[in-house]
Symmetry: C2
Subunit: 335 residues, 2 copies
C-alpha cells in the first residue's frame, strides 16, 4: 500500500537510484536498454515521484498561488478558471487564497504562499489594500508576481487589465445618449487604481457632452452590497437626484436596483442604470442590466501566461497587457 520509491525500483533492478532517476528523466548518457527496463518497471509499479521530496530538493513546487478578493465573485471564479487552465497545461498546480477584501488577510495570504514556496503569485488586490510592502517582499525574494484587474500602480510588476478609462467612458456615454443628464457614480474604493480609472472615464464622458461634474454625485463604496445600497439611497434622497447611475461593479448595480425599487422608482424611466462585469445576474434581473463585458477567463489566462513568461525569463521587464471590453446594451438604459 505504500507508495513506490526510486530506491525500490533501483534495488529490484540492481542499479543505483541515480540511474533510475536519470533513466526516468531521459538523461542522454543512460543506455536505452536500462531506460527501457527502468521505465517498464516504473510503469508496472505505478511509480510516482514523491513531490514533497522533489520540492525540497529542487527548491520549487510547481505550484502557483492565486490571491483574489473572493472566489464567490463570478468575475474571480472565472478568472481562476482561466489561470487554472493554463497552469494545468504547463504541469503546475494552483492554490487559491481569498483576501475577503481585507488588507490583513491579504498580507497573511502572501506570507503563507511565500512560506509554502509557490513558484509564482497572481493577485487581484483587496479593496482595503493601500500599501504594498508585502508585495515588495515578494519581488525582493525573486518570486515572480503578476497583478490582474485590481493592480498596484506603485510596483513595477507585470499586469493585465482592461482599459478601465475607456470602458467607463463608454458606459457613461451610453447613459448620456439615452437621455440622462445628471448621472450618479457608484465608485469603488478611492485607493484602488481601477476605481480611479473608472472615475476618470466617468468625468471624460461628462466633459465630452458638456455636462457639469458634481462631486455630490460621486459615491465611493467598498465592494459590499450594503454600501452600494446605502449610497444609492443617499443619491435618491439628495435634493437633486440623478436620472442615471453608473455602478463600477454589477454587485453595486444590483444593490442599486434593490434600492431604486424600494423607493418605487422605475428603471430606466426614472433612473437608468449601467453596471460593470457582465455578472450572470445582470441578465436575470429585471430589467436586464446594461454592463461592460470583460472576459475574466481570458484575463486569467493572460495573467498566467505572463507569469510563465517570467519563469522563463526572470529578468525581462514588467509587461502591461490591456484587454478589450465591450458594452452590452440592455434594457436598463433604453428609455
Amino acid at each position: 500500500m505504500k507508495p513506490v520509491t526510486l530506491r525500490e525500483i533501483a534495488e529490484r533492478l540492481n542499479v543505483s537510484t541515480s540511474t533510475v532517476s536519470r533513466a526516468l528523466h531521459d538523461h542522454p548518457r543512460i543506455s536505452s536498454a536500462t531506460k527501457r527496463a527502468v521505465r517498464a518497471l516504473a510503469q508496472e509499479l505505478n511509480f510516482q515521484p514523491n513531490p514533497l521530496a522533489m520540492n525540497l530538493r529542487m527548491q520549487r513546487t510547481k505550484t502557483i498561488g492565486i490571491i483574489v478578493p473572493k472566489i464567490s465573485y463570478p468575475f474571480y471564479a472565472s478568472a481562476i478558471t482561466g489561470i487554472e487552465s493554463v497552469a494545468i497545461q504547463e504541469g503546475y498546480n494552483i492554490v487559491i487564497c481569498q483576501s475577503n477584501e481585507s488588507y490583513e488577510q491579504e498580507v497573511a495570504n502572501v506570507r503563507s504562499l511565500l512560506l509554502s514556496r509557490v513558484d509564482g503569485i497572481v493577485v487581484s488586490l483587496a479593496g482595503e489594500t493601500e500599501q504594498y510592502d508585502h508585495f515588495q517582499e515578494v519581488v525582493n525574494r525573486g518570486v515572480p508576481l503578476v497583478f490582474f484587474n485590481r493592480t498596484c500602480p506603485e510596483l513595477a510588476v507585470s499586469q493585465v487589465v482592461i482599459d478601465n478609462f475607456a470602458a467607463a467612458t463608454q458606459a457613461v456615454t451610453s447613459l448620456i445618449q439615452h437621455g440622462c443628464s445628471r448621472i450618479g457614480l457608484l465608485a469603488g474604493p478611492s485607493k484602488i487604481d481601477i476605481s480611479n480609472e473608472r472615475l476618470r472615464g466617468y468625468r471624460q464622458a461628462l466633459a465630452q457632452y458638456q455636462l457639469p461634474f458634481d462631486s455630490d454625485l460621486v459615491a465611493h463604496c467598498d465592494y459590499s452590497e450594503a454600501s452600494g445600497f446605502a449610497q444609492t439611497v443617499r443619491l435618491i434622497q439628495s435634493p437633486d437626484p440623478p436620472d442615471g447611475i453608473f455602478a463600477v461593479s454589477d454587485r453595486l448595480a444590483i444593490a442599486a436596483v434593490k434600492a431604486i425599487k424600494e423607493y418605487n422608482l422605475r428603471i430606466p424611466e426614472d433612473i437608468a442604470l449601467v453596471g460593470f462585469n457582465n455578472d450572470p445576474v445582470t441578465s436575470v434581473v429585471s430589467p436586464p442590466l446594461t454592463t461592460i463585458d470583460q472576459n475574466p477567463e481570458q484575463m486569467g489566462e493572460t495573467a498566467a501566461q505572463l507569469l510563465f513568461r517570467q519563469f522563463q525569463e526572470p529578468d525581462a521587464s514588467a509587461e502591461k497587457i490591456v484587454l478589450k471590453t465591450r458594452l452590452l446594451e440592455r434594457n436598463s438604459v433604453k428609455k
Copy 2:
C-alpha cells in the same frame, strides 16, 4: 535574503540543530535558559521552519484538499469559505480543485491531491460521477475523507448532508398548497444520490395530496443552465403542461424562468416555481423565487470538523450529519 534555517541558529548559538528544533517545540528536557536564547534569536532572525522540509520529514502536509463541481456555484463558494475558516483555525491550509462536473477531472483531482499528500479530502461529487473507485483508493490509502452535499451512498465514509427528502417534500407541498395540481420536476442526474432523494420527496408530497405521479413530468437535467432551459421548454410544450415546477437547483430554476418568460407565460399565475439553494440570484430575479435555504457555509464547517475528528480518531466509524433547512417562500408561488 535567503530564508533562515535551523542550522544557522544552531551555529550562531553553538548548539546542535536538534537542540534548536527541540527548544522551538518546547521539548520538556531542554533548559529554559537555552529555550529563551533560541527563541530570542529565532524571533530576531524571523525564522520560519521550511514547510517543504517538514512535509517530507513528517509525511504530512497540514493541508486539506477540497473537490467541488465548480467554485463559481455560489453554494460551493460559500461551502469552501466554511471549510477554510475551520481549517485556518486548526492551522491547516486548503487546496481547492474543481471537477467541472466531469468524472475524469474528478479522478485527476483525486490523483493530484493524493500525490501531493494532503492530509485529508473533502468532496462534493461531480454530476457525471457514477463510480467511486478513486474514492475507494483514498480510503485504502488511509487518507481521511468526508463527503458533503453530493455524497456517495456506496462508500462507508463520513458525510454531511441536508434532509433532501424532507426539503423536497416541503418545496413541492408549498406549490400544492398554492394551488398547483400538475407539478413538473427539473431533476438532477439520476446517479446522484441527492437527486433521487429530492425525487422521492417530490413523490411523497404528491402522494400526500393524492395527486397522481406522471413520469412525463420528471425531467432529468445535468447541472447546466442549458439543460434546465431545454427541459423546461419540453415541459411547457408538452400536451398537458404543468402549472408548477420544482427545480432541484436554483440554476435550473433560473433557466426555467428564462424559458417560461420566453414563452410569454407568467410566474406564478401560469406556472409557479420553486428552486433549491437560496442562491443570491433568487432574490434578484423577478419574481423572487421561493427556494430552500441550506446554509452552505455551515455545511462546509461541519464537513471540516468531521475531517478533523478523523485526524484525531482515525478508527472512529463513519458519521452522517444531517443539517436543517428551511423553506423561503417568495412570490414565485404566491398566486
